[in-house]
């Protein structure tokens, strides 16, 4: 059995496992970056990582703090302009998996990273959508990584920054979309996947030691569980070791420049 691990590590590792060697991923900063690079350093060595700064097929040795650290450019196959990134690569339909997160999510995996409160008089002004509105619709499918909590897993979003499954059912198709939208929502407690018909995100795998009650307590809508819910395999020693080494290298590198 592996060492003790944090729920954050479990979340990152569960997300990394979802990624395939042949994927072309549009990676955001933070957890998605850690998960993608963990996948690359473990079971998916040939995975293609693309950051919206224009760096294509990067293989960073440490995690970038920003979306455009020099590490990304130096280890990339090539670096293109940002308009080209959004036109040829994202809109061009060349990305198989996009990663997203947010401040709020609803049961159809729509996301809010714009405002808490009314748009014109926000209680909290969040950073905004960045690439998310078009990542959500242009990538083949979307993986979402978010720690669960009642303030973030909400019944109704204050603002739809990026589309998930909209109002559910065939809403994406009715909007003319052929991409799948969110196929996985990985949290610190469990993994959600969309119901094939209603497209509501339902729990399909629960992380070790987590109860259904705990999941419900941290979710602002009545949670649905799949008929067969799996237990997420615990992190392997290799997964943990690789992730921790990556974080240690990153901390050392980012501290150094001070």
């Amino acid at each position: 059995m592996a060492d003790a691990y944090t729920s954050n590590e479990m979340m990152t590792i569960a997300a990394a496992r979802a990624m395939r060697n042949e994927d072309v991923c549009f990676v955001g900063i933070g957890m998605p970056s850690a998960a993608s690079n963990l996948a690359r350093l473990t079971h998916a060595p040939d995975i293609t990582l693309i950051y919206e700064s224009g760096t294509i097929a990067t293989k960073p040795d440490v995690l970038p703090l920003s979306i455009g650290d020099s590490e990304l450019c130096e280890t990339a196959l090539t670096t293109v302009s940002v308009p080209e990134m959004f036109r040829y690569w994202l809109q061009g339909g060349r990305i198989t998996v996009g990663f997203l997160g947010g401040a709020q999510i609803d049961k159809f995996a729509n996301l809010n990273t714009t405002v808490i409160g009314p748009y014109d008089k926000p209680k909290v002004r969040l950073p905004g959508g960045g690439g998310a509105p078009e990542i959500a619709t242009s990538c083949g499918e979307i993986f979402i990584i978010m720690a669960q909590g009642k303030r973030s897993f909400v019944d109704k979003l204050d603002f739809i920054t990026s589309l998930g499954h909209g109002e559910g059912g065939d809403h994406r198709a009715r909007l003319g979309l052929k991409t799948k939208g969110p196929t996985k929502l990985v949290t610190d407690l469990c993994i959600f996947q969309p119901d094939p018909v209603t497209r509501e995100m339902i729990v399909t795998s629960i992380h070790p030691g987590v109860t259904r009650e705990k999941i419900q307590e941290n979710t602002g809508w009545p949670v649905r569980f799949a008929d067969k819910v799996a237990e997420t395999p615990t992190p392997t020693a290799k997964e943990l070791e690789t992730l921790r080494a990556l974080h240690a290298r990153t901390a050392a590198a980012h501290g150094k420049a001070a």
């Binding site: 900063i29 933070g30 919206e52 700064s53 224009g54 760096t55 703090l65 920003s66 979306i67 455009g68 650290d69 020099s70 990304l72 450019c73 130096e74 670096t79 293109v80 302009s81 940002v82 308009p83 990134m85 959004f86 036109r87 994202l90 809109q91 729509n110 714009t114 748009y119 014109d120 926000p122 209680k123 909290v124 002004r125 950073p127 905004g128 959508g129 960045g130 690439g131 998310a132 509105p133 078009e134 959500a136 619709t137 242009s138 603002f159 739809i160 920054t161 990026s162 589309l163 909209g166 809403h171 994406r172 909007l175 003319g176 979309l177 590198a253 980012h254 501290g255 420049a257 001070a258």
Partner: protein, 286 residues
Amino acid sequence: MPRITTLAEAVSAHIHDGDTVAMEGFTHLIPHAAGHEIIRQQRKNLTLIRMTPDLIYDQMIGMGCAKKVVFSWGGNPGVGSLYRFRDAVEKAWPAPLEIEEHSHAAMANAYEAGAAGLPLAVFRGYIGADLPKVNPNIKFIQCPFTGETLAAVPAHRPDVAVIHAQKADRQGNVLIDGIAGVQKEVVLASKRSIVTVEEIVDDLKPGSFNAVVLPAWTVTAIAEVPGGAYPSYAQGYYARDNAFYKKWDEIARERDTFLAWMKANVLDQGPEIFAAHTRPLRVAAE
């Protein structure tokens, strides 16, 4: 031919109160020294365009230069909030701040369209998103061939573009290497442009026939400001000071610590202090 001059003269000559100014740099090559000079020269009522209004606009907003920000992601990358930006939007301090908000795709396309001399950018965007409800500058058109509905935004056509680059030659041609962001587009889209560079050289020595070069006649003014992108970075010259980005979170959180930092590090200084940031890394590279 661009005038090769000092940063103070370039800002004084080409940026006026009320101008629409776009200072770009996608994480890399952010023109921090130029931002400080604009603050020192107390420009007011600027409309500031930038995909990622990070520390540089947080500082300018907090010092009262801006009346409006056009943007797509306003945060401290990998760290968190921009407190001065939030204070302006949420509490109108030091002044109310109007915002026009887009997605990255829209902003990148709007710069591209501006560089291309078009009035609008057309792209597949904003599907199912709420921004079109709050931004009247997002419209939709129909493809006359397929009937598909596509998003349209007006092209960006700033009065002034401000960027930082690695090198200019003595004729005023500018070379960018590495993450090029929208820097070429913003210069080509703007009426005037100010470029700060790490150094002015005899020969740009681009490594490829297809290097990212802005010809001299597309640039209005050039100033040599070594370290001028700090705490952002200049590929080949010095690294991003990730630790400072984290430190900014503390500095900017409260109005008084922010103002004290700005006085000590901006108002009472000049562009020459940026050179200090390049030194340790320059030595390492030699």
